[in-house]
Symmetry: C2
DNA sequence: GTGGCGAGGTAAATTGTTTTATCAATCCGC
DNA sequence: GCGGATTGATAAAACAATTTACCTCGCCAC
């Protein structure tokens, strides 16, 4: 009766192919080393009081068996999942944008270094309605969230004010909600850009902006307004156009500004994609950049350096912002309570899309 | 001696702040609905034979308690993690590249639609040496892997030939290893590009390429060679330059080609970034694109449309390739055994970086 | 009246860790 | 040589699900 298979009914055929590979468990290591599973666990986590001899024995058994701890079991038993989530806006092809890409690269590299894995989450419509942002924690999918590309419109962020769940806002900040954040100094960068343009002699400067529900966008607008006001110019809405953060939008905005103000000699764009679109649109219309109109972008993403003319822009440390945010998030997960509010410096990168205004160009040459 | 530290003595005060929030478990739902946990589990998974009445009662209890199943417990107990991994090459700022971004966007959107989450993995040096690629499965971190940006050099891929673990190669394929893959038709696209250039009258065509260890790259080179050979031209190495897939590399390659062959009238670049770099370098040197030299790129990533001149390029359906690969991977995870080998069509996108060769330009106008 | 069967549900085993309370052995001072 | 620390390791209890084998009805046929 006792054959090779473990049958309950004598006439039953062999078990119908259970392809589950027999994994090596902590139990197996413990047997191999003649210790208990608790000891193995303690060796792996360097906790408890294990003698050097036992430590070696266990290590050896782990080596020999090729044991790897099961993540799901660790997550269930322990307190942490060692997974972080990156929350992205529901933009079509969001990841194809170099802006997000740089930030995410920074996050991933740092997370990897600190032993965390990174999960991508898109805040699709219905995401908030179904409390998905809390569900991620309630279901123990992850330990913390990095919110990228969020704006004042994302009311669900209010749920994180009490700091019950770790969340850090990346490259933005909020007036109404008290949230941990790591951000680039957009105000400072925009001031540098405006100083530079005005020092060159520009006064009739247009602004291409987008999404006023984003605080950093407003900082750029304010820097622009304040600088011109300080010089005694009153800026009205006709000097500003919405570029929707895209190349197409930037192109349209540039055309609109030129329409209203043919006398314009410079354009300041709220990001590089809009600046690239603006250069494209102006060049198409026979307006020469920078001879006729200077252009300054913002963010310093890769493609900006390889268009003609190459783009003068504000360098924002997107990679570093991501990395720092990730590091701070992990600290918070691990119990650090201090609020996070860091601002990383920006600086102007001088390239070929800016020059003296056309009325001063002769003097510059002579 | 026993000061503020956690005391064992009977007179101990309340437990020293255990901040773990009491989560609602399946047990709680079961109690609420006066059924067993098994019944709740079956209701949630639509398995077993549950009467409509009980089904309703359980659903109601779930609603009332706000229960959410614990992912870690599901993963431990069940067969799947419902997590997919995207394996990326260890390039600096890999994600900031629109090429990877498009593919990943496609993957994420599809994964989301099918109820999966996506995890990012970078194949850092040491990754293979430490068997990390297998560890991901052994540790039950994920159900399957999508390999993006891999090449013949990634020997660890051989471990997936036996199909013991689900892996799909995205936008590349292999000669030596039998691996599931979903890929763009680079050969067909390159043929279209070469046909177009030669029909315009170009014969002295340079090639900017990169990474011969990537099969799709070789397909482009072959299409280039074959077309010129068919026209009776023998191409030697001096007509080809390595552009390292980057803008800088493309710029250097273009300069080198012009140095060797001032008579060159067209350049075919293996991706858009190198094409953008080539346009930049040529324009810098006073070579006019497309009047003096035509340029064709490959991949059709966003920025190519907004440079001057806008880039003629081969459109590869990166987003769709990612989405299809993701769908196939999930099918494989779910037990489908058929090999995956899909090729998605490509097509030429005509823009402004191509024109008649300069010796024919007069005729074209006349 | 009882034997068989199917529908509906449950108890209990399983999954692989971490962690806590407990236990056995050793050491030290007196 | 014996009580009290100290050290090193263990057994067992969580953790929260899935899954299987079994149980109890009710019903129908004979």
């Amino acid at each position: 009766m006792a054959e090779t298979a473990p049958p309950t009914s004598p006439g039953a055929p062999a078990t119908p192919a259970k392809p589950t590979i027999k994994r090596v468990r902590m139990r197996d290591v413990a047997d191999q080393a003649n210790v208990s599973v608790a000891t193995v666990s303690m060796v792996l986590n360097n906790s408890g009081r294990i003698s050097p001899a036992t430590h070696r024995r266990v290590k050896h058994a782990i080596e020999k068996t090729g044991y790897r701890p099961n993540r799901m079991a660790q997550g269930l038993s322990g307190q942490y999942t060692r997974v972080l989530g990156i929350l992205l806006p529901p933009l079509r092809h969001a990841l194809a944008d170099a802006y997000f890409g740089e930030i995410i690269s920074g996050i991933c590299d740092k997370a990897d270094k600190l032993g965390y894995t990174v999960q991508l989450e898109q805040a699709k419509p219905g995401f908030i309605k179904h409390r998905k942002h809390l569900e991620l924690f309630e279901r123990r999918c992850l330990d913390g969230i990095l919110a990228v590309g969020v704006s004042d419109r994302h009311h669900f962020l209010a749920d994180f004010q009490d700091r019950s769940y770790p969340l850090i806002v990346v490259n933005n900040r909020f007036d109404h909600w008290k949230l941990d954040h790591v951000v680039s100094d957009y105000r400072g960068g925009a001031e540098q850009a405006m100083n530079y343009l005005t020092q060159l002699g520009h006064r009739r400067i247009g602004l291409i902006t987008a999404a006023p529900e984003v605080r950093t966008t407003r900082e750029i607008v304010n820097a622009y307004r304040d600088k011109l006001a300080a010089l005694g110019f009153r800026v009205d809405e006709t000097w500003m156009a919405d570029g929707r953060f895209t190349e197409e939008g930037g192109a349209e905005a540039a055309r609109a500004l030129m329409q209203h103000h043919p006398e314009m000699t410079a354009v300041f764009a709220g990001n590089d994609k809009m600046a690239v679109g603006a250069i494209y649109a102006l060049t198409q219309r026979g307006v020469c950049v920078p001879a006729d109109v200077s252009i300054v972008g913002c963010d310093d993403i890769q493609p900006g350096a390889f268009i003609t003319p190459s783009l003068t822009t504000i360098h924002t440390p997107l990679y570093e912002v991501g990395a720092v945010a990730c590091e701070r998030l992990i600290e918070r997960v691990m119990g650090k309570v201090a609020a996070v509010a860091e601002t990383l410096p920006t600086h102007l990168v001088f390239r070929d899309s800016t020059a003296l205004p056309r009325e001063l160009a002769g003097q510059g040459q002579g």
